[in-house]
Symmetry: D2
Subunit: 459 residues, 4 copies
């Protein structure tokens, strides 16, 4: 799935923490894998909210001078992957509203499925939108409601449907909110002097914090006057953590719903191997980086040596690809190199975490065979992707999903694998030890109404 | 050794290849691990040599427009790690001289030990130096000699002593030269339309080339009129490939003197395990990225599970570190995270490739123990570093080398490891199957006179 | 007044013109003197509106690639001078709203005096503001109204009070609107293939257009389906063109309300000289650039040679000024140099267009005396500034205006002039041949209610 | 001549001055009109020389941080206009050589005519050149000579022929050298704490210094141990100050060989008017900026009003010009606007300082006629340019000089002027009160041998 799938965000917050902007900067660093195209931080010094944001990695957007100028003990930050149509600066988060009664800053991870309906409703009532991000809708809804800020945030959370984990900050308070299906992760932890909030727990360890609390589906957590209060804005909740968080997005050192991501991945490899009793391969390799854990698990269970058969080029980032066919064909080589002395003359089990369009898998198999592999047995550490995601993952439309267009045998033939096998949904569940999962991209069972997206799906 | 040791360069050349500058750009990409601070390419269209260079990664220095403007079928390129004293633009390579009879471009990997003596001699004869790089000395020497360009290059190679692999290009010819001790690697390969030359073979595979030829110690290879000619400029040769190329620098998919680097590293892990029959640990982990191969080898031999106990943050690059003690202490955390659910309650064998100053090893052991490891047994896949390198590796001076100051037991105590073991020189040789190695940093046996550096060493 | 006073904007529009973004780029160029801190262009291709904006001069914000990517035949653009508190990116214009029924782009020159009241009203009705610019208020008001876009724009123009010349563009139409007092200029002209709209006529001549139409106070002009329609949104109009447009802001080649700016300035010099029958000076000099025309007029009328006694450094732009007192004292020298061979031993009439705080005038007089001038008679080509401006000119607050704090004689003494004279209001009117002027900064007679600014004024 | 002619440099030095790099930065500012494409400063703290340089205006190359890092009390700096073939970074000055006995920094204004011969000679003796600048040759020659640094500099000055004003700095001494024909200006002045050296005196006034000393032709001035020593390296001297320094390059506030540049220009206008007794025009205008002084002089003598008929756009700098014929035709409009209300219906005398290719003059005349001028009488404040310059002015080759190809009447016809007159050489000399001038571009009488350039000239 190398390079073919993207999540859209990570959020981080710091409450009553010295140098909150710097702490948020380090936090965003640890979440950078969730979004590399834009980054922003809003900081409050108790009276004013200052905003800085821009395109690029967090290190590129924030230099020392900029961080030093952001004084305050509350902050919220965001890293973003932007889909093709939304790279405008207007959509970079945090989004801040400046009113005569104060300011609000919001950062958001996820996707609101009734976004279109809400947008039309709000516009008909006189709202204007400068960008196309969900966050602007959330801000508008909060502004429209009556009551205290907490009441307005809770009413807003009840108006929006879909996947969301968002933070709202005013001059002296932060609210953390998670959708009632628990589609996206959100946790917080006690730091030495205050609290830190993060999409993933890996960001806490940078600060030397090893214990954290997950928000529950439908929960809002208030950080106010030094006190943390939990409350549910909805009792109509269920448990549907996005399976892709385990399979691909989250960092291996993160713990999602109590399950360590590396451990999960290793377990999937182990389960895959269990069914391959009769496969006699020479070595097991994984597609770096996300499939290495599964490959290790497979190798251990199967008793076949785990090898480094593919090397990922760490510096390939924004490499310009020469617009010739020959070079495009080589583009996968710029990112991945086969270790020919490892794979030459070998029968290989190659573990990948998923197949989206199939083109990359096809190129990798070809790479291995060009380098001398005699057989390539592809094992995918997740079920077949058959449906698009409307909860914040950019997996293309149905007609681009190879799993929606071909049978497993046809896919095997297309990618030139000798054999190909995917995990089953049951095996996935086994690996998560019963954590409630959203498997919509595998089985088309969406846990919410899809509103305007239903049409798109029906096409 | 994570982040504590640096080589100073990688070179790449393209002879009679379409879009030679683009090909060199891709080549430098694959060599980027050998130098990230500056990058440059000189291209010849047969009549003129055009030069572009700058600070930063190859992708940052060369954008599409710049590459498009570099027309020609011959090119030489360079990636550079610059030591503290030499970050000036004057030292970024290629260095080009423009004369009334034509131009010369040079790129160089290595370190010339009689550099100071040559510099004084040349200055006394009227030469001026604009920078402090060895390459400028080589250019001056070539200019001083009499005869054809090839003769002048050969005489120059005989005047300089030390570690060097360099390329010299004029409008229509490239010469590739390797020092007579074979201290630095240099190889070339046939491409579809011409030839490519590289410090490491990994750069060839990007172009779909799986076969290459290593230059021998003391050899000069001429690429002229479409013909490749091998010749020896010296018969006084020996075989002293830098052991660190295998241990740390080279990419795992490179083949150095016929030995694949990943295979070598795996073998070192295996050898380490062989001596640990009585050690009963729960898991084996490696310090990413360079020690993973050795850890895999150790785990396989020992029959202990290989685990991903440490995660490297891929985006940490130029992260600004807050100048407070607390933050400096955290800086290793920004780069490496322990996977606490993996290491918690475990007795661990941690494989690292080397120990330079000991401070990083100490921090990593601490990180693992903080995350709950019960025991950390450190195994180093190379001997104790006791001497500085004068052949192009930046390993600090003797007084900063922990191995020159402490016994193994003292080091173990300093880094808080439960047990610590290094490889022996004999084991190193076993892993390279008899390839002649320079082990000077381990045993102080330098294969050349050290000239002015002898003094530095004697202090 | 050199460097002490700033207007806040210039607007440009292009309707049904090939390469509308490029034409707007050239137009903004000619308006760059009205704002150098930020620049932006929105272009419509008939279906979508694309926005690009950023900090800096138009040439810095827009390079060839960016302009080439902005396809369409309708465009609006803006150059901006931003006051201290509002340099955020959120305030850079155009501001674009994106709705389900289409997008709107707005650019605005001027200042709305009931801005605070409207902002509170809109927020109470649920609006959120991301920035502090008036343009966002105008967009919100348009969104709130009912009816066709033209009706909504007209209703909006009736809701806002103050100085404004704004353009509103949707996918296929542009509306140009001027406030009912005519405080800020706005004109349009027929180009070869369509229409161009500009704050100043100087922008038309770049395109070879020598004839243009001024919008009248209270007028809205619709550019739709290739047709230009004039209409009045209000009949309650009067004529109060900002006198500072003539005195300082506008380019000498612009024609404002039928009067050429250079001709106006020359006339003021002439009038000043008329009253100086008994002053026998050696030479007349002007403070560059804005006071040269007046100096020429004075010299001609007085029969005293016009000389270049002060040179302006064209490259001083963003020069970093060393933070020492000595250097700050020198800062005016970096920008202006006396021509000592011209001024030495001379009795000088120095024409300046206005005095704001007096510090710069004081430094310039000192400069001339240091360079050897025997006498410096300062003549100001406008009346004494005694009141702040609330219509878009950044003249500081009342307590910083030297004319509000001191008598003319006290000012003369403060700036070390030998004699000092200002123009009278009657003389100003004479120079404009009866064009209705806003002279509020000279006489405190504001042509609108001041709303919340009244308070500020009363302090 | 607007935009068609370029000089190649300005030099500045500071000796025993606090913050020498900052002072040099301000000095280069005042010399920026002599070169806008690159800028550099080398500073010595008594032990080491630090170099910073780059493309662009001085303000763009040097920010606060960079200046702050350049500690020392000696400095030399350079601004550069680079001809088409030499924009490489290698040619940006200062050029610094780093030797085992110390470093030398050099900055140079002018052009060496025996450059090619010296380059070949030096290369044959083993020198290598990294760039194509004359400064590198000077450095090589200094290195080659025997004796003290002063002796070596003096010998070098005797080896090179042509136009040169250069500064050489080592760790504790600066030498200033001017060619024996006095082709380029060079002056120094006492500052509060030391000495400053500059191509033009205008740079001194920024520092509040109104007295300075010109170097004489063939002179070398040594700044050493706090003492200033004058000496002649050659007695074979003559006086040939470049006439173009007065006509076009120097800033009006500079004093060159005792003559103020503005006064010179005004005198040329006056002389031109003297011969126009029978011409009855309505107004006199000058082409900004360099021809305004002459226009003022003409108007005064002729008793015809001086008017601002053309406005120069101050922000046009790096404006991207759309590559269509229509836009190229407009490009002069982007830079110059006619004030139509001034020129309409008028018979105009238009003063320009020179005509190079004629294309710009032709466009300006057209601009004025398009704007309604009834007659345009062009008067050029210098003789006809008929020969190329080899002393540092970029006036194109002979076949591009309209004055070398056409008679005055043919030029008049080509540029569509009603009448056209140039000054005579005698009139030029009158305006300079007997200062010895190089008039080679007007009369082909070069004051030196031309060496390899003779060939170019003979073609």
């Amino acid at each position: 799935m190398f390079d073919e799938i993207h999540e859209e965000c990570g959020v981080f917050g710091a409450y009553r923490v010295d140098n909150a902007a710097s702490i948020t900067y380090y936090g965003l660093h640890s979440l950078q894998h969730r979004g590399q195209e834009a980054s922003g931080i809003a900081v409050s010094d108790g009276e004013n909210i200052t905003l800085q944001k821009g395109k690029g990695l967090t290190v590129d957007v924030f230099q020392k001078e900029k961080l030093d100028s952001m004084v305050g003990r509350l902050a919220v930050g965001h890293v973003r992957y932007s889909t093709a149509g939304g790279q405008e600066n207007e959509n970079i988060q945090p989004i801040v509203s400046k009113g005569h009664n104060g300011s609000l800053a919001i950062v958001h991870n996820g996707q609101i499925v009734n976004e279109k309906e809400l947008r039309i409703e709000l516009e008909n009532e006189g709202a204007i939108f400068q960008g196309t991000s969900d966050s602007e809708i959330i801000l508008h809804l909060i502004q429209k409601q009556k009551g205290t800020l907490k009441e307005r945030v809770m009413k807003t959370a009840n108006r929006i449907e879909g996947a969301f984990s968002f933070l709202v900050m005013n001059e002296d308070t932060i609210y953390a909110v998670r959708d009632r299906h628990g589609l996206r992760p959100l946790s917080y932890a006690k730091s030495k002097d205050g609290y830190v909030i993060s999409s993933e727990t890996c960001a806490f360890e940078v600060m030397g914090i090893y214990e954290s609390v997950d928000l529950k589906p439908g929960e809002i957590v208030e950080f106010h006057k030094g006190i943390v209060k939990h409350e549910f804005y909805s009792t109509n909740t269920d448990n549907h953590m996005c399976a892709m968080e385990y399979i691909y997005f989250a960092r291996p050192d993160s713990v999602v719903e109590g399950i360590n991501v590396h451990a999960f991945r290793k377990a999937t490899g182990s389960i895959l191997a269990r069914e391959d009793k009769d496969l006699h391969a020479d070595i097991v390799i994984g597609v770096p980086d996300s499939s290495l854990s599964a490959a290790i698990g497979y190798a251990e269970e199967a008793g076949i040596p785990f090898e480094t058969g593919l090397i990922k080029n760490r510096y390939v980032g924004r490499t310009f690809i020469q617009p010739t066919q020959a070079m495009r064909d080589r583009s996968v080589r710029l990112k991945l190199s086969p270790v020919s002395s490892v794979v030459k003359g070998k029968s290989i089990v190659m573990i990948d975490d998923s197949i989206v369009r199939g083109t990359t898998s096809r190129r990798i198999v070809q790479l291995l065979k060009d380098a001398g592999a005699t057989q390539v047995h592809v094992r995918i550490a997740s079920p077949v992707i058959t449906s698009p995601c409307f909860y914040g993952v950019d997996t293309s439309t149905k007609d681009q999903l190879i799993g929606a267009q071909m049978s497993v045998e046809e896919i095997r033939d297309y990618i030139h694998a000798d054999t190909l096998r995917f995990m089953t949904e049951e095996e996935m569940k086994e690996a998560t030890h019963g954590v409630g999962l959203c498997l919509a991209c595998f089985n088309g069972e969406y846990c919410t109404k899809l509103f305007s997206y239903q049409e798109e799906l029906d096409k």
